[in-house]
């Protein structure tokens, strides 16, 4: 009986070397940096939990976003304001429990390093790991270009960028149907585009908007905060970009869990990823 499938190999598994040592090391270094930068960053934010647009912004200037606490009878209520919209966020934002007591605090203790209010220490952690993050990023970028990691693994092909292809991938992702067999050898187009947006968009923007807040760096490049509309705008964008990265991580981890957590974790630790051929999806 001659069918096109007759020549196909029987179901089998192949181990492929998916992540080079440098990619794996820089990935986990980045995980450490981003976690600490986020939590120490929220500690720093808590010192002045309001964001502004423009060159300046302080208590008497209108804020774009703020997290605060208001007296509500005998109790205190956490209030988060974005634009003209105020939402009660008691328990998490504005007011949260510290040592069993409702305490005014923008972000709660479990989201800050250290858990208690300590701006000086938060800054020490933030800037140490900012350096670590930048050096790690530079090594990774150099590798990405010179070892052709970006071109080989992350640059989508023209065929992958057609609306039909992207549309199909979105549908597949939504149904949690992930590539098998030959297609699983490479990242899919959504992955490639997302990783490129994070690597060349969000992460550099995080560093640049962070540098804009430094009065020393601003003396070197006064035009840089201008690009964003001023130091306070850059500070707001630092926060917005961080939010974007948190959303990326949430989706990224969800996809890792949904598409085979053991195989994914193994590949990012040992480098080897197992692909299944010829099995039912």
């Amino acid at each position: 009986m001659a069918t096109p499938d007759a020549t196909a190999a029987p179901p089998h598994r192949t181990k492929i070397y998916r992540h080079s040592l440098l990619v794996r090391l820089s990935h986990w270094a980045n995980v450490l940096c981003m976690v600490i930068l986020l939590f120490s960053g929220l500690q720093i934010f808590n010192a002045h939990p309001a964001l502004y647009w423009g060159q300046y912004g302080a208590d008497n200037d209108p804020s774009v976003m703020s997290i605060g606490a208001v007296q509500d009878g005998d109790a205190i209520r956490g209030v988060t304001t974005v634009g003209g919209l105020s939402v009660t966020t008691t328990g998490v934002l504005g007011v949260s429990t510290l040592d069993g007591e409702p305490t005014p605090r923008a972000f709660p203790a479990w989201l800050t390093i250290p858990s208690y209010q300590d701006l000086a220490t938060g800054r020490r952690w933030h800037f140490f790991f900012a350096w670590f993050f930048v050096i790690n990023g530079l090594i990774y970028m150099a590798y990405g270009f010179f070892a052709r990691h970006f071109r080989r693994d992350l640059l989508p092909s023209r065929a992958e960028l057609t609306p039909a292809h992207i549309g199909q991938e979105i549908v597949d992702h939504a149904r949690l149907r992930f590539p098998k067999g030959e297609q699983a050898r490479h990242y899919n187009a959504l992955q490639k585009l997302t990783y490129l947006a994070v690597l060349f968009g969000l992460l550099p923007l995080m560093i640049i908007t962070g540098l804009c807040m430094s009065p020393g760096f601003d003396a070197f490049a006064p035009w840089l905060p201008e690009l964003f509309g001023g130091r306070q705008s850059a500070r707001l964008l630092h926060f917005v970009t961080a939010t974007g990265l948190v959303l990326f991580v949430v989706v990224h981890v969800a996809m890792v869990l949904a598409s085979g957590v053991f195989n994914n974790m193994r590949s990012m630790i040992t480098g080897y990823y197992v692909i299944h051929f010829g099995e039912k999806p």
Partner: protein, 258 residues
């Protein structure tokens, strides 16, 4: 740490590192002296890199009149309760004298009138508080370099220390007086001035009357208010907590360029 939180943090995407550190573990790590000293490496790194990039002379951006903040937030002490200061304030600072001494050839004293008669620089700059907020104001005052040239620094002088009239934290041992220090690069920088005027008027008490420091390439806590005495020193170890400033003694960076 409850199991619920561990699980939830894992699910929302916190990573291995976060779960490994944990909450209480984090604070223990934060308070470890060895960890603290390792983290301090970043400050030296930042200072060396920034000095390399900006050089000694690059200016902080100066703004136009229309950029000035409608309300310039007063921070730190806004009314010193030191009786000596209150007495000076009540006399419109006419008996007030700025003492300039330490490792100098010719210690001198300057009245407010003396300082106002010296050549002044006016600059509209952005004040960046370590907390995150910014305010733009116009400052007029004597370039610090001018005063230092007139008293003549001894060769061993490395830092300029600013002693203030406000005791920001009440302590039994007197370690709570506000003070600050900068090195000679910043001391002789063109925008480093001793400001006696703000936004075209005499400095208000809330902003540090009669005289405050402006070091425009660093954060707000370096801009010491209520100046009483300027001292040239060879090292900062012998003063108060040894960190070179009130906030530095409480964990903040001495180099506040970031």
């Amino acid at each position: 740490m409850s199991r619920l939180i561990t699980r939830r943090r894992f699910l929302i995407g916190s990573t291995l590192a976060a779960s490994a550190l944990g909450l209480s573990g984090c604070d223990a790590l934060v308070q470890d002296d060895r960890v603290k000293s390792v983290l301090k490496i970043a400050e030296g790194f930042t200072m060396k890199t920034q000095r390399l990039l900006i050089g000694d002379n690059a200016l902080a951006r100066e703004f136009s009149e229309s950029d000035i903040s409608p309300v310039f937030r007063a921070n730190g002490t806004s009314m010193p309760d030191n009786p000596q200061y209150i007495d000076l304030m009540n006399k419109q600072f006419s008996p007030w004298k700025l003492e300039v001494g330490g490792l100098v050839e010719k210690p001198m004293q300057f009245s407010l009138a003396d300082l106002k008669s010296l050549p002044a620089r006016t600059q509209i700059t952005r004040h960046d508080c370590v907390e995150g907020w910014s305010a733009i104001g116009k400052w007029t005052g004597v370039p610090l370099g001018l005063l230092l040239h007139s008293v003549g620094l001894k060769p061993e002088a490395r830092y300029i220390v600013f002693h203030c009239a406000d005791e920001f934290e009440k302590t039994l041992d007197g370690s709570g007086w506000y003070y600050e220090s900068i090195d000679l690069v910043d001391a002789f920088h063109a925008q480093t001035i001793l400001a006696h005027s703000m936004n075209g008027k005499d400095l208000e008490v809330a902003h540090g009357a009669p005289l405050r420091l402006r070091v425009e390439r660093q954060l707000g806590y370096k801009q010491a208010k209520y100046l009483m005495k300027i001292e040239a020193v060879a090292d900062l170890g012998g003063l108060y907590g040894g960190g070179g400033g009130f906030w530095e003694d409480r964990g903040y960076e001495w180099y506040a360029g970031i």
